[in-house]
């Protein structure tokens, strides 16, 4: 490749991590940061053990526990109740000890969701390649990094070699220009994007999010947008590093300091896509046209403005889509033509790697302050890390939620994925700030509506999906 050819942010990070190109064109890509959690790593460590292989670069690795743990205080006082969860946690602890991998244990204040902890600790930095056995690793791309989820075989590959075999992806740019209207957030931007490109629209691509509305987002908003890249089919989403990013990095425990930081920033400033760089696919959205969004179906592409009604399967463009819509309407317990804002909720979940940072919690608290959760609604806030929880408590936000009737819980993945005690029961309808509304995602038979933290808070107060712009 000619040095003068304009390159994208993705191209630059990819090129900077190329160890070798194999004869068939497959790249051997170096991985700077490998984040490990309890669910997708046991079989990988077992593979190393069987082959007698060590972890190649322990200091490039960090392990945390987040997916399967309870989010009440029982987890500190005794042993984990569920025997399978306990075995998985104990297995991780045994593995990190045996392979000498850095680890943030459950009792550590820094513990939390891996995609919150990585950036918070400065483990995720601009220009890095970052992987984890979890599809929402795309979150870290908000730092201006190339970050993507991998399977357990690849976790083992990275542990053993600190590399991955990769084919170069295509470049997609999603440009969102303009000013986001009041009541709209990063979550509404990304739901609108997925609604536009579809759940497979980004397959085979890495998405770069660009434009003035993206630049205007704080880091929390950028994490939210990149987090859901995978819901648009793209393994990775990225945002070019800028002053917002550099300010965020400063002072983080694992981030470079002083002169090293200055040197790093100089390199990071060279990363944004060059003028004239080629994008295989371009998508453009006008921020001014975005309204608060909510998902109504069982795929993240099935999103609508909160002002809309449930679609009628009879109006589908073909038979396959009609069957799909029919199945979704039935599963979700909806009536075509029903106003989305009339849908009563049983549960409100504010949390997950998408929306559990301090900014998300503040946005929800602003809606909740001085009000009460509607009768019959179970509402919960699950901070993304122990440090987020502490910060929120220092601002008195825990009291805002508790006084309103919310549960204020310990950090973890919680009700995002139905593999720990926080689950929906069959038929329950949940307003959720998480990322996936698949059938059964939050528990068998559970019905998920994805929305922003402010929209979730509004639903908790009124007891039904609500246009946050109408909240006093």
């Amino acid at each position: 490749m000619s040095a003068t050819k304009p390159r994208t942010l993705y191209d630059k990070i990819f090129d900077a991590h190329l160890v070798e190109t194999l004869p068939d064109g497959t790249a051997l890509l170096y991985i700077d940061r490998h984040l490990v959690h309890e669910v997708t790593s046991p079989q990988a460590f077992e593979g190393l053990r069987m082959a007698g292989r060590p972890v190649r670069r322990r200091e490039g690795t960090m392990a945390v526990i987040d997916h399967n743990i309870a989010t009440d205080e029982s987890r500190y006082t005794g042993r984990i109740e569920d025997p399978e969860s306990r075995l998985q946690v104990e297995t991780l602890e045994k593995n990190v000890a045996e392979f000498d991998v850095p680890y943030i244990p459950l009792t550590d204040a820094r513990q939390g969701i891996v995609h919150v902890v990585g950036p918070e600790q400065g483990l995720s930095l601009p220009g890095m390649t970052i992987v984890c056995g979890d599809s929402h690793t795309s979150t870290h791309g908000a730092m201006g990094a190339l970050a993507f989820g991998i399977g357990t075989s690849e976790v083992e590959h990275v542990l053993a070699t600190q590399t991955l075999l990769q084919k170069r992806a295509k470049n997609m740019r999603v440009t969102v220009d303009g000013v986001l209207p009041k009541g709209c957030t990063a979550k509404d931007i990304v739901l609108a994007i997925i609604g536009k490109i579809g759940t497979a629209g980004g397959t085979g691509h890495v998405i770069e999010f660009a434009g003035s509305a993206i630049r205007a987002l704080d880091m929390a908003g950028r994490f939210t947008v990149c987090n859901m890249s995978i819901e648009g089919g793209a393994r990775a989403g990225m945002i070019a590093p800028d002053e917002t990013t550099f300010e965020y990095v400063k002072g983080r425990p694992f981030a470079p300091q002083g002169e090293a930081l200055e040197r790093a920033i100089a390199w990071w400033k060279s990363l944004p896509s060059d003028e004239g760089a080629h994008f295989d696919t371009e998508v453009v959205l006008d921020a001014a046209e975005i309204v608060p969004m909510v998902s109504w179906g069982t795929s993240p592409e099935d999103v609508l403005p909160i002002t809309a009604v449930v679609p009628d399967p009879a109006s589908a463009k073909d038979e396959a889509r009609r069957d799909q819509l029919q199945r979704m309407v039935e599963y979700m317990g909806l009536t075509p033509g029903q106003k989305l804002s009339d849908l009563k909720v049983d549960v409100v979940f504010i949390g997950s790697c998408t929306n559990s940072r301090i900014e998300d919690i503040r946005a929800a608290a602003d809606i909740v302050r001085g009000k009460a959760v509607a009768p019959g609604v179970r509402a919960m806030v699950v901070p993304g890390s122990g440090l987020v929880k502490k910060a929120a408590e220092a601002e008195g936000l825990d009291a805002v939620f508790k006084n309103a009737g919310f549960e204020w819980r310990e950090a973890g993945c919680s009700m995002c994925l139905g593999m720990n005690p926080d689950k929906l029961t069959p038929g329950q309808r949940c307003a959720s700030t998480s990322n996936r509304n698949f059938e059964g995602r939050q528990g068998p038979g559970g019905r998920t509506h994805l929305l922003s933290p402010a929209m979730a808070a509004a639903a908790a107060i009124t007891g039904h999906l609500t246009d946050v712009r109408e909240m006093a």
Binding site: D24, V39, L125, M128, S135, G149, K167, G233
Partner: protein, 203 residues
């Protein structure tokens, strides 16, 4: 990993788009530290009723599809979570090949690592294979990876594309870690170069 060369078997029709990995294996079954034994959890929310009994309407609970080795599906198969438990569950059930118009990237990748062959074919061809699959026992479909063809019950051969490296690994049942370990010197020199240029990564 078992090699994949040829396969002749019953194909189960699963005419759904966006079959996500939560559908292939719900998260509550991920609390395992092994790769095996997940076949009973495959498609659990579709396959079993709330009381744990079998849902007789689900294709994999019907004869002859209980013995299916091939799945035919619609667009974007395997979207969602990166859980490798999805191909592990399919494999443990007995599925060695999935044919669909396209696949989500991570699932596609994970399949190859476990000796499952994902084949991309145009929707209209998948629709023909879906009809073949509906004929059950009398309509076995064959896959020949060496020749890169799917053979329909009527003898028609449908060629398919596959990445040459992945084909090689699958035909020989090779895992790629051993191969990458042989490039240790190249990795060493990359690290030396990177440490000189970006010392903050080696704090």
């Amino acid at each position: 990993m078992d090699a994949f060369t040829t396969l002749t078997g019953i194909a189960a029709p699963l005419p759904m788009a966006n079959v996500d990995t939560d559908k292939i294996i719900p998260a509550r079954f991920l609390k395992t530290i092994q790769r095996t034994g997940l076949g009973k959890a495959a498609f659990a929310n579709l396959r079993y009723n709330e009381d744990g009994s079998e849902n007789p309407d689900f294709v994999l609970n019907k004869e002859p599809y209980r013995k299916a080795e091939i799945l035919i599906a619609h667009e974007n198969f395997g979207c969602g979570s990166s859980r490798e438990h999805a191909p592990w569950a399919l494999l443990d059930f007995g599925i060695r090949c999935v044919i669909a118009p396209d696949f989500a990237d991570i699932f596609h990748n994970n399949s190859f690592k476990n000796g499952i062959l994902p084949i991309k074919l145009p929707r209209e061809i998948c629709d023909q294979l879906m009809e073949d699959a509906r004929m059950g026992e009398n309509a076995r479909i064959s896959i020949d990876l060496e020749r890169q063809v799917v053979v329909r019950p009527n003898g028609d051969e449908i060629p398919f594309e596959i990445d040459p490296l992945r084909r090689h690994l699958l035909l020989n049942g090779l895992d790629d870690i051993g191969q990458t370990m042989q490039r240790g010197t190249a990795i060493d020199s990359f690290e030396a170069r990177q440490q000189a240029a970006q010392p903050w990564l080696y704090g």
